[in-house]
Symmetry: C2
Subunit: 217 residues, 2 copies
DNA sequence: AAATTTGAGTGAACAGTGTTTACTTTTTGA
DNA sequence: TCAAAAAGTAAACACTGTTCACTCAAATTT
């Protein structure tokens, strides 16, 4: 995918960049963006804090790269499901399930990926939202699958697949967020556990997809 | 609602507490939890930073109170909709719309309210999740309304209203979060605007509620 | 009324944070 | 070989939340 860089100097530079990112990734996965400090990171890779700034303009830029990599992970996994030849209904549910599962496995990544600070008032378009981003690619996969559902008659014919995809994504996102920062979700109290988390994910997926379906049995 | 406190000393203390919270509220609404610093807050109310700690154990505790107040706001507004005598279908949609609208008006509050840091691994129950909290009250209102839908035959009879409420909430939450931190949502690019935000909120509400409905027209 | 205790409020410090600047060392290319 | 560019650094700046020892005034107790 990425073209090899020419000079050995540039290759070396790229390697160190990767080393920084790798160390950052590990801390980030465990403690999130707040737990990841430039000074700690510098110590981990035996550099001075200021050295990091020869490779990244700011901590935000560094974290943005971690996020982008995370989106690639989502895209890969969702694509793998979409390309399967399992029945459409099951495939849809798997898609939702996989998406949420990734959020569960890397909660800090997921929370950070969708938390480019909450903007009060008119906001400037964030870098992540640029055309052709991994985020957008993932979205296109989803809307394509919904269009397929419409085409084969599983979903209502009047559905705009792009609009529906946005709605579905919002619903998935909501579940992922709930699970990520309410540790006991879907139970609120610790003791009561009427349904396991995985069961609830399937239930939610079902609920969401049912909103698109043409007729019920 | 709140019982008057006895001694004038306690009243005075309560007053200052309120003054701190009020100042905090204003900064928080504009700039969120990160923009709100103890030192800035102290300066706003002409106190030393250390003085704040005579009234709040920590910044987190202070912010938690802002969050609780915010949940009260949600609860009040949603309750007002639920108690209306408008037709059930319309009422459901209004409920979703109102919920999301509040998130839009106070994006920082909303984002913070659901962001008791993302926990990797087993988490301890957060204070907000205690029994009888405003959060739980709001949830009960929602599940009550769904039960009503089942009772009058609008929703499928086999629906567990508590489970469904959790799913619906997740879907609402997702939309709210999307809007709150993707400034251009539901459009990804700035230029393209096939549907207004308010229209999309209604569309999403429709989609979500349709998942519960017994039969379609 | 005097003495004592409680609580409010403070300045200074501790231990962090992201980031920049001036500086030295190393590497690279002509 | 030698100048130029890049890598790396120590120290400082401007912040952050929080704590500690302290003062001073108000309320309680004797």
């Amino acid at each position: 995918m990425t073209a090899d860089v020419s000079s050995p100097a540039e290759r070396r530079r790229h390697k160190i960049r990767a080393r920084i990112l790798s160390a950052a990734e590990q801390v980030f996965a465990r403690e999130g963006a707040d737990g990841l400090s430039i000074r700690r990171l510098a110590e981990n890779i035996d550099y001075s804090p200021a050295a990091i700034y020869k490779y990244f303009k700011s901590k935000d830029e560094l974290v943005d790269e971690l996020k982008e990599t995370f989106f690639e992970l989502i895209l890969e996994n969702v694509n793998r499901i979409v390309d399967t030849s399992t029945p459409f209904a099951e495939r849809s549910r798997d898609c939702v399930g996989t998406y949420v599962q990734i959020a569960i496995e890397k909660p800090h990544h997921y929370a950070a990926a969708f938390a480019g600070q909450a903007s009060a008032g008119e906001g400037v378009a964030h870098d992540d939202d640029r055309e052709g981003s991994k985020k957008e690619q993932a979205f296109n996969v989803l809307s394509g699958m919904i269009q397929e559902g419409v085409d084969i008659g599983a979903f209502r014919s009047e559905i705009d697949s792009v609009l529906a995809a946005k709605s579905i994504w919002a619903s998935m996102h909501g579940l992922a967020m709930m699970i990520v920062h309410i540790p006991t979700f879907p139970s609120f109290q610790l003791g009561q556990a009427d349904m396991t988390r995985d069961e609830f994910i399937l239930f939610h997926a079902d609920q969401v997809i049912r909103g698109l379906e043409a007729h019920h049995g």
